[in-house]
Subunit: 236 residues, 2 copies
DNA sequence: AATTATCTAAACCATAAGATTGAGAAAAAC
DNA sequence: GTTTTTCTCAATCTTATGGTTTAGATAATT
């Protein structure tokens, strides 16, 4: 939970000097904020983050040398729990998607009223995500489209459903790259039985070797049966 | 764009009779809405959607026979551009994530003020996504966590980088489930050469069979080299 | 009671896959 | 100009994999 007795420590990163100055002044007007740093260079900014551990990092996403997305990743690698709010000139759905995927907690357009920026900082400092409704829509358009691509393959009539319980267990082990001998040991059956199961799996999945069976399973959303999972648990 | 001269056609699906009645009355108060149907059964609801093509479907996500997530999928299969708004008693991040992933356009908690429901309908009818800030946060917590899992594997020191150009081409074909003879034909080299490459790949990836090489490639973000891709293009 | 599905297993065979050693040619790096 | 890497290939060998048939024991279904 946020501690309201202390000032919020904010760090600014924007390669545009004018923007940087403008934002700094804007935020300085708020008595509850403390700008611990402001820099035009992303790498310098990383150093400042390491040093000052700000609560919030306001960062432009379009920068020449090191771009915003890379910088978010670098921050992640530091393992510091800093909340990144992205400043961007574009409401590009791909950009928003990638920034949020990498762990950004907020995304604000530079064209928005300055009060929105304060809103964003407050919201994020409060542990929530800040995304204006237009950007939320942009994000989900992209997200749902990506999801559709994923499930498209899994959609069609899935041959995996024709597998019996035991065949599912065997396929599960196959997808772990285990050979017949080990599978036989794990399931406590003979190796020839494993072969029988595997051949039946091949027939049902319409493939003729292990690799293609595994590929089919992975690209068609194969999920090991619960019994098989619990056995894995027990083995671990 | 929304046509404000026509009433919004809304369909309700909720297995709880009281909820259903309550929501119906609430929406009927709005003169700009027209409830084209209200049912307690998801499958019946699907039929009504097919018949009336409503602009908005308000649907409970917790239903006994056919659950809300399945119903969203069924609607998707119909290929009808209906906007689904989910009604739920829980702000469960996994549930929100899956509903939105499947294409829901809004998510409203039953505990919220009824005005929020109207907000949601308006927002979604306007082509936007409606997610209350608490739910947005829930969603992103889940989303970013899932994304982290994805990239985690691809992060570590990746043995794939040690592969030579030719080895990459061979591995690419391996991940397509192609056998040695066919690989030899595709690359116009002898089968023994393929074996040599494959053995080198095994050494570098520290595995000892095709299946595990393929699994390693897939779980470590293997992307076929550009040259290999262009050859695929040419072959298609 | 009879049928069907599932799991188990053996025997046999064919071959694809994997391991190993050695080696020449060309390209890249030093 | 020498060394190293990469790509190529052969020969040999072992073994894991895959194909097929047959069949007994249960369990589920009708």
């Amino acid at each position: 939970m946020r501690d309201f007795t202390k000032k919020l420590r904010v760090l600014l990163i924007d390669d545009n000097a004018n923007h940087l100055r403008g934002i700094k002044e804007l935020i300085s007007l708020e008595t509850s904020y403390n700008v611990v740093g402001a820099t035009r260079n992303a790498n310098l900014g990383l150093g400042l983050i390491k040093k000052y551990r700000p609560d919030i990092v306001l960062m432009d996403i379009n920068m020449p040398e090191k771009d915003g997305l890379q910088t978010i990743q670098s921050i992640n690698k530091l393992g510091i729990s800093t909340n990144v709010v992205i400043l961007s000139g574009y409401d590009d759905s791909d950009l928003i998607y990638r920034a949020m995927k990498l762990g950004a907690r907020g995304y604000v357009l530079k064209t928005m009223a300055s009060s929105k920026l304060i809103d964003a900082i407050e919201t994020v400092a409060d542990g929530k995500i800040y995304l204006p409704s237009v950007l939320t829509t942009r994000f989900f358009e992209y997200f749902q489209n990506a999801a559709k691509e994923e499930t498209k393959v899994a959609a069609g009539e899935n041959l995996l459903t024709t597998l019996t319980g035991r065949e599912n267990e065997v396929l599960d082990l196959l997808t772990q790259g285990i050979n017949y001998k080990s599978i036989a040991q794990k399931l406590i059956i003979s190796e020839t039985t494993v072969k029988t199961h595997v051949n039946n799996i091949f027939q049902k999945l319409q493939v003729n070797d292990r690799t293609n069976a595994v590929l089919y399973a992975l690209t068609h959303g194969f999920k090991p049966s619960l019994t098989a999972q619990s056995e894995q648990m027990a083995a671990a």
